[in-house]
Symmetry: C2
Subunit: 120 residues, 2 copies
DNA sequence: GGTTTTGTACGATTTCCATCGTAGTACGGC
DNA sequence: GCCGTACTACGATGGAAATCGTACAAAACC
């Protein structure tokens, strides 16, 4: 019956804001950092849970932890421990209900800009 | 032939980023401040040029100047001197071309949140 | 010219934030 | 029990940013 070889969630639990605690300003601030925007784009593209380690970010591990925490505390992502790994997942549906079109708009804009800057 | 009683633009000119210099991160950062988000919402609602003075913001005049400068330098608004007043205008069309749906998404989200928070 | 209106420039302050390194913890596997 | 992996916690640091007050500037109007 095992659907995946991924380990089950461990006992460690992380604090997430409830949907009605999410604030637009905090979401926008979270997305205004290049590293974090990159993380979110990747999560949206791949569409599932990703371990922090698969993001090859040009910063130290502690900085990486910091960015993921900002994203989680602002309500953009959900995080869960699986074994030694910590998986991240976009809270896309909740954000869509809360701020319709916002996340899509930002993601589209991010890709737009990436292409635009690549062609320069 | 006078279309308005508004004074003509004065000689003083302000620096604006060119469209292809506008960066998504800077726009998002500009919009992630409550004061600035408020300014942008008002500009979008009223839909034209507004003098800085019509925004009754709970901050000092110098802070106000600061916020308008951040918005202008990030490419969100355009500013022009008319007499002693300095008018601000959303760069809605340019932003729409650059980041389709982004501004609308943010504005909708802002209004959504305003209503949601008012009902609590 | 003098006054009022509107906003700027500058410096100070204080807080936030992105970054790092080091030491530590939780878990899985051996 | 021990080791490796993956991430955290904590403290430090340097830089950005939000805020303010005071002094100034540009334009309109009398």
């Amino acid at each position: 019956m095992a659907t995946q070889q991924a380990p089950a969630p461990s006992g460690r639990v992380l604090d997430h804001p409830d949907v009605d605690e999410i604030r637009l300003e905090h979401v926008l601030h979270a997305l205004s950092d290049p590293m974090r925007l990159r993380i979110v784009c990747r999560l949206a593209t791949d569409g599932g849970e990703l371990a922090c380690s698969v993001f090859d970010l040009p910063v130290s591990k502690s900085t990486c932890t910091h960015h993921f925490r900002v994203l989680r505390e602002s309500g953009v992502i959900q995080q869960i421990y699986r074994g030694t790994a910590k998986m991240s997942l976009l809270r896309a549906e909740e954000l869509e209900r809360l701020f319709p079109g916002l996340l899509d708009g930002v993601l589209t804009a991010a890709r737009h800009q990436e292409q635009r800057l690549a062609a320069s």
